[in-house]
Structures are given as structure tokens and as C-alpha cells.
Amino acid sequence: MSATAQPESFRKPELICPAGSLPALKAAIDNGADAVYLGFKNDTNARNFSGLNFDLKTMAEGIRYAQSRGRQVLLALNTYAQAGRVADWRKAVDQAVDLGVNAIILADVGLLDYAAKTHPQARLHLSVQGSATSYEAINFAYEMFGVRRAVLPRVLTLAQVEHVIKNTPVEIEVFGFGSLCVMNEGRCWLSSYACGESPNTVGACSPAKFVKWDKQPDAMEVRLNGILIDRFGNDENAGYPTICKGRFEVAGETYYAMEEPVSLNVVELLPEIMRIGVAAIKVEGRQRSPAYVTQVTRALRQAIDAAAANPDRFVVKPQWMSDLAKVSEGTQATLGAYNRPWR
């Protein structure tokens, strides 16, 4: 029990973990996730990778596994319906409702409108791909579509997150761990610049069919549709082959011109995240394996429980940080925008 009284806004956030497969879903649930998020095997979600995600039968099995243990399943339907194919996305909304998921995570306002009108009982979450960074945008989604929770893009400081929470009735979910990119979520077209496809259009950034890893004697080169993105020396860690994390020649110098491969890790901020009233903490990585989900869920479960039990005397355990650092892209962790001094 905490030594000092916590503010009224204090709450213990739910831990939301990624599931790209049934074993990953089970790993998340078995290691303490309060909820998992997952997607169908098609371009209605932003991790539309070959062999990843769930067909209807496997998803039904996953939902049974989670819900029978008192946990929740959130369905990511977070890409934008493409012209001429709106029916595919609407069908996915209907299927999610039929399957009995606990909430649908949507970005497209057209789909939010469809879901709210067709399935008024369904719980809707506003996806990070919806790019709502202000309480005005979130309250608009609340008033128009009855959105119950919003996932914030990874661009706000904690003070800004607190400001949003204070001015909206909508629950706020933030990212707590996982790979970072330029965080122009829902608005990024860098991948399309190289190959004509991006998360919003086909559900994948740097689709694998355009990626070529080429082993050289002294380095590993990676190209996206022929564009050289990076050369990793033999003793350097590699990263995902996205343009935003590439090293490019700018004015005669070669360096990470936009963002270096790095992972977000908010463990040391947990007491503050709880104090301001964040409803849920999300882990990135539906493309990762069950081993990653196991390791990250276990570490974060312990950290959240410890911080909630005694926020004033919360001590970060080195074991959590080393376990999380090991699976990080770039094997380095930052607090992202949450603690940046400038706005």
C-alpha cells in the first residue's frame, strides 16, 4: 500500500500486448496481459505481413482462450478503406462484432461512422493511426462515434498527455514499449515514396517483397525497391528496413537523417503514467514472435504491478530493463517524446 495518498486521477493501466499468431496470443495471456490486440489476415490491419495474423477459426479460438481467462481481445482494423473496396473493411467490422471481440480499434472516420451506426453496442477505440493528438480531435470522435478509448500517437510529452486526459471523457491509451519510427502515425507515406505501398494503403510499411538484404564481405546492405537504405557493419546492430531509420548522405555526411533504430521503454515513468490517469499501456510488435511477447509481457506485468502497489517507492529492477533491452530494435531504449524538454 502506498505511503502517501494518490491523486483522484490515479489508476492502474491495463497492459495491452500484441498477438500476431495464436501462440503469441497465448504467451501474452499466460504472462499477464490484460488484453491482446490482433488483426485479420488481410490489409484491414497495419501489420499485413505474409503468414501473420488470424483467420476466422484461429481468431475464434484465441478469443475463447483470452475471454475464458477473464482477459480481453481488441481487434485492430486500423488501415484506411481503399477506393472501390469499402465493403471489405465494413465486412471486417461485421466479422469482428460477430466474433465477439471486446473492442474494435479503428482509424478511418468512414468506418467509425459505419461501426457506430450499424453496431451501436460495439465498443470502439480510436487507433493511433487516427492521428488524434489533441483532446478536441478525441472529443470529436467521442461525440460523433461514441469512441470509448483513444490511442495516442507517440509525439506528446507526459504533460501534454495529462492535458488531454483532463479534457476528455475518453479513456487514453499510450504506447509503453516497442520499436519507434518517425511517429507520423496515420499520415506517413515514406514507404510509398520508395515502393508505392505504405501502412495506410496496403497495411505494411516497407512491404517484404520490396526488401532486399545483401550480404557483403564487410557489411550487410539493405535496399527498399532498389533504394539503398543502410549498410550495417559486421559489428553493428541491424534495424527494420524502413526509410525513416535509414542512413543517408546529406550535405556530404552520412547519418541517420530522420530517426535511428531505437525502442521506446516507459518503465521508469510508470508511477507518473499512473498518476495522470492513463487507462492502458500498449506494447508494439504484432510482427514479433511468441518469444518476444513472452519476454516483454512478463517484464511489464511485473513492473506495472510493482508501480501500482507502491508508486512512491517504485524502483526499476535491472532485470526488467535488461530483458526489455535484449529484444529492442537497435538494443537501445528511450523515453521517446514523453520526457522531452521542448514542445
Partner: protein
């Protein structure tokens, strides 16, 4: 509950030197028999197998000097002899493969750390990785336990479930 942790290790250099000079077919055939056994249990998704049918794969174990090249043809894994370049090649030390098989390490982690090299058709690599990730060990164990000689597996729990939910 699984408690054994496979450490990261590299076998002494002479092992690979000797291994590379030995015939490669025995371990290639063992690997292919194992793959065909798993395939025959019906736990690999049919649509993914159809996607990778006709493609050639090479698995190289750096510190043992072992190389196995195989293909999936008409739904059956078969060895490929000769030096034809594969569509997809995995290269790592033995410990990395063992860690992957035991689901102790994530392939992306090993790839980031440069302990696992994947060359060739990236999409094919992703398809294979995701297909293997989607194998439910509890189903695999139940299927294997019905085969002669695997009955003891029936008594073991699911190894990826490390803690019991409250």
C-alpha cells in the same frame, strides 16, 4: 514448466572445419524427415505450404560446418544436392537455432543482433518465420504424442506457458 535456458555459445573453430568436410546428406535428411513429420501432422497451414511450394531453402550452421539444402515439392520436403543458389538462406550458429526452436529467442532479436542472417527472398523468409511462429506447441505435442515412441510427451505441459494466470 520449462526452466532450462539455452545459452549463447559458439563451438570451437575446428568443429566447423571438420564438419564442412564431412558428407552433408545425413543431417540434411534428418532435417527433412523432421519437416515432413511436422507437415504430416497437419499443423502447418495448407495455404502457407502452397505459397512456399517449389521454393528452395538452405540452412547453414556456421559453427558445425553443416549445410542442408531442400525444397518443398508437391507438399513434400525433399533434399537438393548441388550448388544451385537457394531462394532463401538462413545462417547462424547452432545455439541460435536451438534458441529459436525452443522459442527462447525471437528471430527479429537474433537478426538485429546479427546472430542470424537471412538472405534471398525477404517475403519468403517472413512467410516461413510467421508459419513457424504460428505452430501451436500444445497442438504439436498432442499430435506427436499419438505417434509410437512419443507417448511420454503426453505428460508434459505446454513449454511456452511459463506462468499460470491467476
Amino acid at each position: 514448466m520449462s526452466t532450462f535456458i539455452i545459452p549463447k555459445f559458439a563451438l570451437p573453430g575446428f568443429v566447423a572445419k571438420i564438419g564442412a568436410r564431412l558428407p552433408q546428406w545425413p543431417h540434411a535428411l534428418s532435417l527433412i524427415c523432421g519437416l515432413n513429420l511436422v507437415r504430416s501432422l497437419g499443423i502447418l497451414p495448407a495455404e502457407t505450404l502452397a505459397e512456399i511450394d517449389g521454393r528452395t531453402f538452405r540452412v547453414t550452421v556456421l559453427d558445425t560446418g553443416a549445410v542442408a539444402t531442400f525444397t518443398l515439392q508437391g507438399g513434400v520436403f525433399k533434399p537438393v544436392f548441388g550448388k544451385a543458389s537457394p531462394d532463401l538462406q538462413f545462417t547462424a550458429n547452432l545455439s541460435a537455432y536451438l534458441q529459436l526452436l525452443a522459442r527462447q529467442e525471437d528471430p527479429d532479436t537474433l537478426f538485429f543482433n546479427r546472430q542470424l542472417t537471412i538472405e534471398g527472398d525477404t517475403e519468403l523468409g517472413l512467410t516461413v518465420k510467421n508459419m513457424l511462429d504460428a505452430v501451436d506447441f500444445s497442438t504439436l505435442r498432442a499430435s506427436l504424442s499419438r505417434l509410437p515412441g512419443f507417448a511420454r510427451l503426453r505428460d508434459h505441459g505446454d513449454s511456452h506457458t511459463q506462468t499460470s494466470p491467476a
